[in-house]
Symmetry: C2
Subunit: 219 residues, 2 copies
DNA sequence: TGTTGTGAATCTCTTCACAGCT
DNA sequence: AGCTGTGAAGAGATTCACAACA
């Protein structure tokens, strides 16, 4: 779906199309590979990744194909190399920074969840409009008034926005984010944002998830 | 994908296959229809739903087909009827109850998010192992020690579990949930649970979402 | 005229199956 | 013997396009 430039095995560059689903699975693969790497494992085969990720082995091999030839026939994949290759795709060559807007329960939970975990992808600033939530450090993150968004985004080179405000405020805050130059938004508010241009929106609607489980788990 | 029994327009019962994606969209459609209904709107056409939900109009009509004939050619859909029909599919005929395990930041955020919103789908009990988090009421929800899970699940007829514990504890807690008789789990821990049987798992991995936005929003 | 309901076509994603490498 | 990489087949989801309807 989306074209990506990847180094090939000869030091050149390949252009590959990668689908959203594959990107999601890359994120999953990497996360389950990292602990194995720390435990000293060096090689793994597609079947084992498949079992850990709860997908098919052919699916895993198909996904890993778009990383360029990283496996060795008959011997599986080198975990270290796999993690690096996935990193090349997911992380790109420059670290990215995110701004979180909305310091309610959910916003704090997310700060807490991501804090200090990944150096390539950190939430470096948070915003709200309530005075008791700004001009201080919450869970290791500096908090500003929403009006400071354009300034801080520009100064820190922030490219991502995390939207954890109420439904009513979401549309307005999204617009402000985009005006400030943000390129992608992770939206927790239960509405579909109407966006002007080529900004990427990922909707994470917890209610939809809960209703979906409820449906499939009916007695 | 999954067969559902629905009332047809003659008072009989139809058996229709509904895919996961359609279920997710039903949840979205209903949420955007409810405010319109409260504003006194009575009719809506597929194009308008499509615009609000950010999907195609043909997609909307295709989805609504599985509700049985609810639209009227040339005049759109009756919103009231639509909401009821979607409710028939999503809510079934009995209310469902959920138990949340893990009263950290994320657990509290979720309690806060769902509290009192939907009568058909409520979190009626929460669990943890830390003594400062149990035997009290947090955000309107009664909190118990994890050991009380089987008892409370049985007494209250709980069918759903929400998993907001650490990665290390997730597998064990999921097993306990299933042993207690829970039929579906909404898992926020960033691992793929290995589940014995026909329990439905929905994984909501925030890191995967953030990494996905980061990928598609690269400068 | 404007809109639904739907067969058919298209597009996308997943799985199969096996040649080729180690 | 065991595993990767991949063309081809299969399954699934989306979109097109239009007849039937109000």
């Amino acid at each position: 779906m989306t074209p990506v430039h990847l180094p090939d095995r000869f030091g050149g560059v390949r252009l590959v199309a990668v689908s959203t689903n594959t990107i999601r699975r890359f994120s999953i693969y990497r996360r389950l590979l990292l602990p194995l790497l720390r435990d000293g494992r060096t090689r793994i085969c597609s079947h084992e990744i498949a079992a850990l990720a709860a997908v098919g082995a052919a699916q895993v091999r198909r996904d890993l194909m778009s990383l360029g030839s990283t496996g060795a026939s008959g011997r599986g994949y080198d975990i270290q190399r796999l993690v690096e290759s996935i990193g090349t795709v997911l992380d790109g060559d420059t670290p990215q920074r995110a701004a979180l807007v909305g310091l309610g329960h959910l916003g704090r939970a997310i700060l807490n969840h991501f804090n200090g975990r990944r150096p390539n992808l950190a939430i470096t600033a948070a915003f709200d409009v309530r005075t008791d939530r700004i001009d201080r450090v919450i869970l290791g993150c500096r908090c500003y008034h929403l009006d400071a968004l354009p300034k801080v985004v520009a100064e820190e080179g922030i490219t991502l926005g995390i939207l954890t405000v109420t439904t009513g405020a979401a549309e307005d805050v999204a617009t402000r984010m985009i005006e400030a130059g943000i390129l992608g938004i992770l939206n927790f508010a239960p509405i579909r944002l109407r966006i002007p241009r080529q900004v990427h929106i990922e909707n994470l609607d917890m209610t939809t998830f809960l209703e979906t489980v409820a449906f499939f788990a009916r007695p």
